[in-house]
């Protein structure tokens, strides 16, 4: 059982602290994701643990022995590293590179035995690189080379594996395969894994512990559920987010929201009458433009309703699949009165939501500028036997402005480059 203890380490570059007061205990079978914004000290932390950058204070122990009193070879027998940049100067074959992973286990003049070749082969088969064995590593693609480097780390037969952004060169299938592999080694072989990961959702899907770094020190350390909160993500990354459950894995799923354009924060309110997903894009665009956006009346579980929830927009709702109640209609009219503008999307009308069309007519009566996005002709989306068609006609007569799609809305509302 190999444990890794990081005790209060501090690293400096000149007089600038690049890491301070880091305490961490890693047990076998632990998968720790190191997260943090650029420059928060993630790579520095991995470098000091991997015996490349000696910390000014504190100690790093493997099995209670300080890594700086152990020989480099002894450390390499227990700990392997997959570094971030893998340019190889000379044209070694992939197999040559993987066999170098056997170095910590070889004597000074010893050649690799057929047993070492066997271990290297197994490592390459695990990372799907055995067919590339004799190819020069410089001729491989970034992803292939990355997998060869991971095979080299596995050939070291380590107890602790450090990965520095292992997925940066990989496409999605290779990312998943790699993380699955590392997770399997972690659970089946009791390998302790420390990985710097940029993708919050990959981290929460595979790691069991998250280390969140901010300003060169630990901001949060704990289980994925404890650490992955909108509050933590806002204070570390400075981005608003919504946490949902990944429907397949049930891991916390982070949906980051683009920051509002604070400089263009507008004091005007826009009320959007939508439903059935016809307003989703528009709602987000308007929010990003800095408007106070409200929406109504929507059914709970309608996709536009969910968008409002996610974007934290004011919305009115009725239970799923039910008709709009009078109470909701009144509230809708109240919202419309407070708005500077109303936009009606090309929502299909049935008897359940026909009141929304009446609400739009009320808006024109209040003298509020009303835009109608008429992407789909009303004939095709009228399920009220002509009632919606005649109400639409009335809407036109009351001076509502009809546009073909949201890009035709005046540029003063939505600038063209942002449609």
């Amino acid at each position: 059982m190999v444990t890794l203890n990081v005790n209060g380490i501090e690293c400096r570059y000149g007089s600038t602290k690049i890491l301070s007061n880091i305490n961490l205990n890693v047990k076998p079978g632990c998968f720790i994701g190191i997260l943090g914004p650029n420059g928060s000290g993630k790579t520095t932390l991995l470098k000091s643990i991997s015996r490349v950058l000696k910390p000014h204070n504190g100690s790093i122990l493997i099995d209670k022995e300080n890594i700086y009193t152990l020989k480099p070879k002894q450390v390499a027998q227990k700990m392997a590293v997959v570094p971030q940049y893998n340019d190889v100067g000379f044209n070694f074959s992939a197999m040559d590179v993987v066999l170098m992973g056997r170095n910590p286990h070889l004597g000074d003049f010893q050649m690799e035995s057929s047993k070492d070749v066997e271990i290297a082969k197994n490592a390459m088969e695990l990372t799907n690189t055995w067919t590339l064995a004799e190819r020069p590593i410089n001729e491989l693609s970034g992803g292939e080379a990355q997998r060869v480097i991971i095979a080299r780390a596995l050939a070291q037969e380590p107890k602790i594996l450090l990965l520095d952004e292992p997925m940066s060169h990989l496409d999605i299938i290779n990312q998943i395969e790699l993380m699955d592999l590392v997770k399997t080694l972690c659970t089946k072989n009791n390998l302790a894994v420390l990985a710097v990961i940029h993708d919050l959702n990959m981290a929460s899907r595979y790691c069991d512990t998250i280390l969140l770094l901010k300003d060169n020190t630990i901001f949060a350390l704990g289980s994925v559920e404890e650490v992955m909160t909108p509050e933590n993500i806002l204070s570390v990354f400075g981005v608003d987010s919504i946490i949902r459950k990944n429907p397949i894995t049930n891991a916390p799923y982070v949906i980051p929201l683009s920051p509002k354009k604070l400089s263009e924060e507008k004091n005007s309110s826009i009320h959007v009458i939508c439903g059935a997903g016809t307003g989703t894009t528009l709602l987000k665009t308007l929010r990003d433009e800095g408007y106070n956006v409200s929406a109504g009346v929507l059914n709970v579980a309608d996709s536009d309703f969910e968008t409002c929830e996610l974007l934290k927009l004011l919305s009115l709702s009725d239970p799923p699949f039910s008709a709009i109640t009078d109470k909701a209609h009144e509230a809708n009219l109240a919202m419309i009165k407070n708005a500077n503008m109303v936009i009606l999307t090309a929502v299909p009308f049935g008897l359940g939501n026909i009141k929304n069309l009446e609400a739009a007519i009320e808006a024109t009566k209040y003298g509020i500028p009303t835009y109608v996005i008429d992407e789909t002709p009303i004939i095709e989306r009228d399920f009220t036997h002509g009632k919606a068609i005649s109400l639409m006609q009335q809407l036109k007569e009351h001076g509502a402005i009809f546009v073909k799609d949201s890009t035709e809305l005046p540029h003063s509302i939505i600038p063209k480059n942002n449609s």
Binding site: V81, P83, G89, F90, S93, M100, M111, K121, W130
Partner: protein, 375 residues
């Protein structure tokens, strides 16, 4: 369709077994390559003894070696030698052999140190010249010549000793000022090496201005790079350093493989990177100084031979160090053969031959490698 699939599976399987076999039996293959090169070197030496102003037959050459081998020499009746045969034996012993053996160790030393420097700096452009080691050695030689040659120092000629000292001083100076914290970044080391090299070359040129005519010609002759006047005494003086240099660097060959992947990677794989780099730089400097002190500046061997050898045998230093040393030896012996045959009575310094052959070849190699490798 099914057939195709089956064939593919069989092929992959065969390939896979082949790869395993190739890597399990590498040591055997490498020994064969080295044995082949040693045989080629011996043939080159014998052929080179045949080349020269006086005709010496192969039977005389073989007889010469026969008289030096225990037991075999009992079979040869030296009293029956003709006057001409005796004269030929003297030419081989005093003129041709020392010169060929000098070319051998100088070529081996320059190539081996070039291989070390290229590996440590992960840069096929690195060589003793770029790092200022050769310039450092030449300043030592210059000082020794100005001081007056022929002064013995513990029985050794002063020139090689002075070259060792200044070459070592130079590499440590370059190494320590390019050091950042506990690490030595390649780029800073190369730039420092070039700067120091230019500075030391200027000092050497200044020496030529302040000296007398007699010593000036000595300096100039030495600088051109020639192995005409090496002689047995100088040869024996530097031989131990070159042999020890190659043998010790072979001890670090596997570490050097990992260092050539990058400092951090080597560290991760269990190499004591900074110590090993230091040792390899010292070994490279010792070999360079040993060669430079007896031959002057013979350019391009340390740059070109490791490069060519790597193209032929691959980048593994366990094979690359011995093969580049052997190829360097063969190459310099051949260059020296050309140097002493093409000019007729006047000899061309071998440094000119290596530069004339090396320059264009390097340009050709660079253009080719730019397409083929990302170095």
């Amino acid at each position: 369709m099914n057939n195709n699939n089956n064939n593919n599976t069989v092929d992959t399987c065969n390939n896979s077994q082949r790869t395993e076999k190739v890597y399990s039996q590498r040591a055997k293959r490498w020994k064969l390559v080295i044995a082949g090169l040693i045989a080629s070197l011996i043939v080159t030496i014998i052929v080179s003894l045949n080349i020269g102003y006086t005709f010496i037959s192969y039977s005389d050459i073989l007889t010469f070696f026969g008289t030096r081998i225990p037991y075999v020499n009992n079979l040869i009746d030296t009293t029956a030698f003709t006057r001409e045969q005796l004269a030929n034996q003297a030419i081989i012993l005093d003129i041709r052999l020392p010169r060929i053996l000098a070319a051998l160790i100088i070529g081996a030393a320059l190539s081996a140190s070039g291989t070390l420097f290229q590996g440590v700096f992960r840069n096929p452009m690195a060589d003793p010249y770029v790092l200022g080691v050769s310039a450092g050695a030449s300043v030592g030689v210059g000082i020794a010549i100005l001081w007056g040659t022929g002064i013995n120092f513990f029985g050794f000629p002063i020139v090689p000793i002075a070259a060792f000292l200044t070459a070592l001083a130079t590499i440590f100076f370059v190494y320590s000022i390019s050091k950042v914290g506990t690490r030595v970044p390649e780029m800073s080391l190369l730039l420092t090496g070039i700067a120091v090299s230019i500075f030391l070359a200027a000092i050497f040129q200044a020496m030529q201005f302040i000296t007398t005519d007699h010593k000036l010609s000595q300096l100039v002759n030495w600088q051109i790079g020639s192995i005409t006047n090496v002689g047995w005494a100088n040869w024996w003086a530097v031989l131990p350093f070159i042999v020890a240099g190659i043998a010790l660097s072979y001890f670090y060959a596997r570490d050097l493989n990992m260092i050539s992947l990058g400092e951090d990677t080597a560290q991760h794989l269990g190499v004591n990177t900074s110590r090993t780099k230091k040792i390899l730089l010292v070994l490279g400097s010792i070999m360079t100084a040993a060669a430079v002190s007896i031959s002057g500046l013979i350019g391009f061997v340390g740059l070109m031979i490791p490069h060519i050898t790597r193209l032929i045998v691959g980048p593994d230093h366990r094979l690359l160090i011995p093969t580049s040393a052997l190829l360097g030896a063969i190459y310099l012996i051949i260059c020296d053969n050309i140097a002493r045959s093409i000019g007729g009575a006047t000899e061309v310094p071998v440094g000119i031959i290596t530069a004339l052959a090396g320059g264009p070849f390097l340009v050709f190699l660079l253009r080719r490698s730019r397409q083929k490798y990302r170095m």
